[in-house]
Subunit: 355 residues, 5 copies
Amino acid sequence: MPRSFKVRSKKAGLPPGSLVHIGEQKREETRVTILDYDEAHVEEKEAETVGECFPFKDRPTATWINVEGVSDVQAIERLGGCYGLHPLVLEDILNTDQRPKMEDYEQYSYIVLKMLTYHDPSGQVQAEQISLVLGQNFILSFQEGKEGDVFGPIRERIKTGKGRIRKMGVDYLAYTLIDAVVDNYFIILEKLGERIESLEEALVVNPTTGTLREIHSLKREMIFLRKAVWPLREVISSLERGESPLVRESTRVYLRDIYDHTIQVIDAVETFRDMVSGMLDIYLSSISNRLNSVMKVLTIIATLFMPLTFLAGVYGMNFKYLPELEWRWSYPVFWLVSIAIGVSMLVYFKKKKWI
Amino acid sequence: MPRSFKVRSKKAGLPPGSLVHIGEQKREETRVTILDYDEAHVEEKEAETVGECFPFKDRPTATWINVEGVSDVQAIERLGGCYGLHPLVLEDILNTDQRPKMEDYEQYSYIVLKMLTYHDPSGQVQAEQISLVLGQNFILSFQEGKEGDVFGPIRERIKTGKGRIRKMGVDYLAYTLIDAVVDNYFIILEKLGERIESLEEALVVNPTTGTLREIHSLKREMIFLRKAVWPLREVISSLERGESPLVRESTRVYLRDIYDHTIQVIDAVETFRDMVSGMLDIYLSSISNRLNSVMKVLTIIATLFMPLTFLAGVYGMNFKYLPELEWRWSYPVFWLVSIAIGVSMLVYFKKKKWI
Amino acid sequence: MPRSFKVRSKKAGLPPGSLVHIGEQKREETRVTILDYDEAHVEEKEAETVGECFPFKDRPTATWINVEGVSDVQAIERLGGCYGLHPLVLEDILNTDQRPKMEDYEQYSYIVLKMLTYHDPSGQVQAEQISLVLGQNFILSFQEGKEGDVFGPIRERIKTGKGRIRKMGVDYLAYTLIDAVVDNYFIILEKLGERIESLEEALVVNPTTGTLREIHSLKREMIFLRKAVWPLREVISSLERGESPLVRESTRVYLRDIYDHTIQVIDAVETFRDMVSGMLDIYLSSISNRLNSVMKVLTIIATLFMPLTFLAGVYGMNFKYLPELEWRWSYPVFWLVSIAIGVSMLVYFKKKKWI
Amino acid sequence: MPRSFKVRSKKAGLPPGSLVHIGEQKREETRVTILDYDEAHVEEKEAETVGECFPFKDRPTATWINVEGVSDVQAIERLGGCYGLHPLVLEDILNTDQRPKMEDYEQYSYIVLKMLTYHDPSGQVQAEQISLVLGQNFILSFQEGKEGDVFGPIRERIKTGKGRIRKMGVDYLAYTLIDAVVDNYFIILEKLGERIESLEEALVVNPTTGTLREIHSLKREMIFLRKAVWPLREVISSLERGESPLVRESTRVYLRDIYDHTIQVIDAVETFRDMVSGMLDIYLSSISNRLNSVMKVLTIIATLFMPLTFLAGVYGMNFKYLPELEWRWSYPVFWLVSIAIGVSMLVYFKKKKWI
Amino acid sequence: MPRSFKVRSKKAGLPPGSLVHIGEQKREETRVTILDYDEAHVEEKEAETVGECFPFKDRPTATWINVEGVSDVQAIERLGGCYGLHPLVLEDILNTDQRPKMEDYEQYSYIVLKMLTYHDPSGQVQAEQISLVLGQNFILSFQEGKEGDVFGPIRERIKTGKGRIRKMGVDYLAYTLIDAVVDNYFIILEKLGERIESLEEALVVNPTTGTLREIHSLKREMIFLRKAVWPLREVISSLERGESPLVRESTRVYLRDIYDHTIQVIDAVETFRDMVSGMLDIYLSSISNRLNSVMKVLTIIATLFMPLTFLAGVYGMNFKYLPELEWRWSYPVFWLVSIAIGVSMLVYFKKKKWI
């Protein structure tokens, strides 16, 4: 539900570029880790203060500064100052309700992504904002700071020097970071796919009000997912086709690959949406069907017994002159007639395919 | 409802450029305030007559003339005359049912926006038209004149000289004005978001006819909001990409920022629309569900008692030769049979999952 | 309903450019009025024969020839011959089921518009086709010829010389004619808006089958209106942006103004459509709601009285050995039990919120 | 219904350009007629064998070769060989399930159209494929060969030399052929319009299951029609704007005219679709409405008689001590009470507007 | 259902270009067949090891290497190494959940297609991924390796030298391969068309819950089909219009032909979708209709017998003073009245058209 603009209003009235953290605070202190590498060496370091990052700025090596937790406004302002970030970029880093976007500045490109996590019992998908600043020889990445991220294997690869990552520049690193985020979407989709699958089964076997609520909740997850994924397409397409000198030709082919993945994710989300709304139709039809079968039972019972009850009522009348009452075989005849009526009703219903 | 073109018809037949005020008159007299500033000085002044604005025209300083109330046609005509506004611009300023738009004229750009306010008990969103005329060194802003606007903090910032506002030109001022209007949308969205949230809860707990009316009314607010917000996207995008020399390069990056916000607002409105129409589906399903459960109760009761009533009717018959009547254990056997029928019915319903 | 292509078929098989009048004949004879003016003079004249128009062709003054009634094929053919109109243009003038369009020919531009009128008791919107031929120094306008048009005030303005109309060329006159037609749409919209408003009230107070029919009929008016209005957007946009030398630069700004109005009209039509289809949803929900409440009444009554009737039936049985029959307090106890059953049922329904 | 790709599968696996006739065989032998003309002369001839067409190829006069029946593969192959048609064009001529399209080849343009016919009792629209090959000085037209076509009046015009058709080239002839096909659509639309109109009336007066089936069948006709008409728009637009030297400048204005007609047809089809789906809504509402009124009758009856039946049951009980039984006025009082209950129920229902 | 991204997640975290087989393993060993040909000779060979393919690389003849089964990662890597394929291409070949796409690399073009098969009892459509690598003088094709493919006739044509296939280059071979895949879609469509047709009949004759499930399952097949077919349009259009020197001018006309077929397939899928969702509407209406008729039966029965039962109950009362009980003709009069009531009810229902 309105997961995304809850506290935006606290910024209204402030001058543009005012640095205020917007969003749920997911981590108390800010944790800064530096990974500096070139083909030959690699250096990892956890920075106590933001100031420790500054010396890396002028080194020719590739530097990846990862900031977890964006509620410490001062620290981020200082870092931004050192790396020459525009106040609006800093503002966007702090406001964690951005939609995915890409903006070219002269010295760097600024990219906003959403990292998604799936909460297992509730089935809710949650988003964490990832901001990337891609410079000539550095990448700054800002996470909201929930425990855990999807970048672990990348760090490992850099440290061990496996693959081509150490040989390629920071643009390739940017690509691998985005790729990790997008690859993670497939896991979310798989989880949602399982949920849909089990929901479809429930729908066929025994649809309840809970099924309806589940459909509704899935629909909302889809709306949420869509918002995170659709804009990505444009982001990556503009990275790929963009004229930014920060992205080398050799990296573009990889970006095209992520672009394909993004399209695949969007495709899947749209397919899910189609499926979920199809399920609502099925649910409604099955309710109607059940109403129909309930009504048939009622109608059959009423149609069977109403004439019979009337008949019994007739011979319960106290008229003095009611000849049948005196007859010897009245009672057995009454039963015969009753059973005949009952059977003919049942035959009629059978013919109408009600039973 | 038809909140927007109610009295437009009174213009039909008049020559183009005829100055007639269209819309609800929200304020009797027109109030004109002048704010003239450059980096070094600032001068604020409430003008008695429109004439007091004229001297500011030729000053090199930045001048912001804010007009509240647009029903005094003469005053606005005179002001327009002094600042060289095209008759069609004046017409548009007076007709408060414009949709947001941007028009480039040679000497100035004309921008129409909608300032929204949320009325708390009724939950209605209302719009006030803001017209901005951005010239080389002046901005004219026209409001319909309801009490209060969203520009207070900007005035404060100019007067105190906080931030970069005094150092940048009038194009930056235009940006801050638009930004204030757009930022205000987030507050409206938040309010609507809360309403949707509480409606969703009501929908789950106890949907009533009132819920339906609330859904319907929310839907209408969305239609209304959409009309105010969608065109804005184009307005700001054409300001940003436009070739107007009035907007300096340094300001464009800020406009891109508002553009992002606008997209976010549109996104939110669309998400809300999706949610609200999803709610209608849920409401309809829950009505059907309830009908189902009502019908089940009826069917169970009827199916239980109809056979029994028939049976009681049978032994209420006055046939002379009805052997069971004479038997000693007829009555207890009758009850046993009745209970057996009742229990077997209930077991049947249990098996069918009706109870 | 199929108001627009009813008799088109009578043209099938004829060679292109065959002049056949298509559409309802709204006027018997053709009436031609000429208005010739420049800044200094004005001359108005009702032409007996079409031939009287010919001398005006070569005058440098602006000439507006207005033709009411297009069923006199010969007259229109002669006029077309004199002013050099292409056979296809003449064909389109006669076929009154065109959609709005603009076509540039070398010597002139041809514009088709729809003038709408609202018929008050039935609430039907009807269209009359207006064809404009804009030449270097003349305008030919063709109306189907229903009594009355929206051009009265324009004639007045030309004759009295009020405003800038006499100073500007025929392109400005074309603009004012189109503007008059578009302004008239607002009146139609207002009327429809009122109808929607009163329908919404009826929907809340007491929805009947008549409400449904009204919704349906409004929907059809919207479909009809849409067809008249949507293409207009392109017409005016291509007039404004077109490279036709017939439209002077100074007139373009006015065309932009009509363009805005057209967008406003389209917006309103779309909003109305949204509202009307929302109303259908509400109507359906309220039917379901009512069914629900009817069924509840039935269920409550049946559930109350069926057990009681059974009980009464039991003690109406004629068993010889039925001990309760002999007891002294049986009857009052029966009533007590009955009332107890009734009350507990009601409590149960109360708890289920059915009553 | 799957009217269009039923036997396509028999081509799967064949090399491209394999000439196999696909579609229902509508005519046994192939009939070839030649119409050769210029401004001065005209020659009509029914060809016994395809070979008779060959001499016309090199004549400077305009030649129209019309082929009815496309199941004689050899004949068409020979004709194609003589006129230099690409194997793929021949393949497309034989496969009668093409969608309308236009393809430029170096020496000629290939156009596929659908000629529609309306079958009166069933109300089904059927399509026949028309292939046109427009060369420098010849037109080949291929029809599937059902009895009758829409080209009769054109032949007449060529033979009598009426109109400008003999003076203009084959491109103008191509235009008249397309125009005849499109004009014919209006007749189909008119028929469908009448069907819709009568359906709407039935819907208001007495909607039955037949109405539903009719709505459904109309919907399918619309889907079918759409497929034939939508692509036409692009076909004609690319003919008009195309750079093909085969289409002279003077003919383009006529093509623009057909383009307009096509848009009109599409418009009408879309309007019909809107109307038909609106009718489904109305149908569903009217079913619900009727269910409502049925249920009201049931509820009123049950609510009236259930309490009364209970009351009668009470005084049918055989309790020894049941004081009312002995009273003198019990019976009349019983009736009075019964009537009072009945009347008050009716008043209640009246108030609830159920009766 | 989520047939397409089930195991994608096992790649998350791996470096890009990591070769992991994704998808169901459809075949254990990889089978490689080589077909080398020019106009004069043809050589077919089943390769034991991938290495046997290498010598063909530098031959000027056209070489088609077909690989069935993509789970042997090493073999594919070696083949890719020899033919200079980019790691991302190899990755895509192994990941069998790609959507159709075309990518130009410097030395070759990479094309992904979906080959569909229809499983007859279940009616499910299944997809197998076909990857084509089109080089200067070679084509590599990779299939997932299910038994059987659609390329048999093409092999035959190459071997026998029938048609133009041996004279044209590998680009023409690529075209025939794609054409075979697309032609195969028509067979699938035909099967689905038959299913829809039989479903429509079932819907009219006797709609059951099974019909609903069938509709739902068809809807899902459509969603699945759409995903395989829609992107194809872009693939082929970019092949046709692309500037790749690998595709000769003479082949482009054939690609245009496949493009047409693709559009036809898409058209058919969309038509099917429309039809299937129309069927859901019909199904829902027919359920409502049946509910209506059930309720009518119930209402008629209840309305008939309730008053009669009441009447019988009245004369079953034991009042001492109940004059009718003593009358001579009470009983026959009772029956007369009962029948009169019954008949008048039936007349009433007849008039209301319920029976």
